[in-house]
Subunit: 221 residues, 2 copies
Amino acid sequence: MKPILTVFADSPDGGQGVARDMRVRWALEEVGQDYDVRTVPFAKLKESEHRARHPFGKIPTYEEGELTLFESGAIALHLAESRPGLLPGDAEARERAIVWLFAALNTVEPPIIEREGYLIMEKDKPYFRDRLTLLDDRVRERLAEVSAFLGERDWLEGEFTVGDLMMIEVLIRLKDPTLPGTSLLEEFPTLARYVERGEARPAFKRAFDGQRQVFLESQEA
Amino acid sequence: MKPILTVFADSPDGGQGVARDMRVRWALEEVGQDYDVRTVPFAKLKESEHRARHPFGKIPTYEEGELTLFESGAIALHLAESRPGLLPGDAEARERAIVWLFAALNTVEPPIIEREGYLIMEKDKPYFRDRLTLLDDRVRERLAEVSAFLGERDWLEGEFTVGDLMMIEVLIRLKDPTLPGTSLLEEFPTLARYVERGEARPAFKRAFDGQRQVFLESQEA
């Protein structure tokens, strides 16, 4: 039986791959795991049927037999630990890859999400410009640190791992074409190329096409 | 050889246990692992010696032989997976505990950290009061969701796990006595009692005393 991924029926990103099911789709494609998709309309996310799968009423969720998981980081880690392809064989190298999974989600993503929410929700406020500088600089600080660590390497720790997958997915949010203004990513060519290397992977492309297809079908309905 | 934990030489929280080494100390105490401490002065966090251990120039870092880890979530997971005490034996129950570790760090903590930074950095801004309502409500939404899930249970998924440890550590930030205003935690008695259950654990108390001792010694120096 294939695992089931719950995704937005009508993603607010217009099929641009910014919704968090993309991370899990990419991980599934990297490890070669087929899956089925369940779509949930926006209006039903906070209802009890979906809350039983996801206490915060978000997507994605992942079901595999009796096991139900939420949090894209936990699902990606589950896939990486249960199938070959996203973690190296060496024990210490595995730990380092997992460090970067947490760093992407807990150190790099929060200032990016804070800025993103601000760009969308507070753009008409009188203080908008002043505060934006502050939020941009917080994101730049993190980007500079990841860029300095990455340097000339293709991936964060030798081969491509679940840590790279999540870091690239977090950085890609900055390229969301529905956000106003320019992407801070352009200021860091090392990171822009790193993201491009991720996007060039066949598994990324299959995952992207998968989420785009769901969006296109929702528009026809 | 004991693992080495890097902590603030002079924690800005005044020994209140809000710094992120507390999470790892608590995990170390729960699994009964002795450890040594290396203190780093604030001024040296962003210098190359510490950056070699932590690319973002933060604390804690964790060294065990050749292995160097950063990110408190990754270190807590490493301890939980390598020693008994923080994960159940059953495979599916382990996965659910890890889900809550990620939920604490990636879903519950970000709005708490955003509000905390705002309380400290922007309290004199003309827009302070208006925006605070917005940030408070985002935190309340998450707290209500965790509270609804927890309900009458002692811990999130049966026995105490690394997921509870991290969730309680994230919620404790709201009680930081150096922050202005009231703790939003008081509005959720289910969560306030949950945090108290965590604080009552002997391992928590030993960890708290450990970090407090470092602060007290820094004041004598």
